[in-house]
Amino acid sequence: MTAEQIIFFLTGALILVSALMVVTTRNLVHAALWLVSTLFGVAVLFASLDATFLAVVQVVVYIGAIAILFIFAVMLTRRNLLDKVPQTNAGWPWAALVAISAFAGLVFLVGQMPNAGAQKNVVFGDPLMALSMALVSPDAYVLAFEVASIMLLAALVGAVYIANRK
């Protein structure tokens, strides 16, 4: 086994175990901390895929902002969290069935995929430079980038308004 494969398997195991803990643990603060572990594993995968900017953004935005926001929300709504009672609703076996059949269907589809055994291509040029050019170039994705930034601003203003105590 090459070092790349070992890193992939360790990261994959970290991601899947942490994700299972996120959906099964009773204490929501612990669930949010397991989410941090999952997100960090995904950041490692991004780095292994040569998406360096996304790996850093994953750590800064997801772990630094979103996961911390989750922890704050858990603490703000903690008064009757009831850690002792089961945290799943009555239909959880059906939910597990749906999730397992979705996984089986996806595995079947990936098996049909013609380029499933593809190898990594050589990285063309400097991906970071290409990404930054693509984000601001009128020929590429500047419109999507600006629309996303306006959507984010609108969502944050809306969130402040909704959560504001009247």
Binding site: A31, V42, M151, A163
Partner: protein
């Protein structure tokens, strides 16, 4: 070498775990945690297809950045709604938020 299908299998497993979390959890914040797992699975797919395909085209990474922005917006609005609901109903258990149930 790590094949493309390995990343896709990992992302399928992560997506299914997130789906289970969304469907089975009682707590509204835990449901949002499941949504985050599913968005991350989609991001792994996008980036791995970018890496194994023609990586001179940056569409995969740009799409992934848009997903980051959507995830941040979704979490901000979702958690604000959860906090507002908690203030008025004093619960965030999804089963008990049945005001619109006829």
């Amino acid at each position: 070498m790590v094949h493309l299908s390995w990343y896709i299998f990992l992302s399928a497993a992560l997506f299914s775990i997130g789906l289970y979390g969304v469907l089975a959890r009682k707590n509204a914040i835990a449901i949002l945690l499941g949504v985050e797992l599913m968005l991350n699975a989609a991001n792994i797919n996008l980036v791995s297809f970018w890496r194994y395909g023609n990586n001179a085209l940056m569409g995969g990474q740009v799409f992934s950045i848009i997903v980051f922005a959507v995830a941040a917006a979704e979490v901000a609005v979702g958690l604000a709604l959860v906090i507002a609901v908690y203030r008025s109903r004093n619960t965030i258990v999804a089963d008990e938020l049945d005001l619109l149930k006829w």
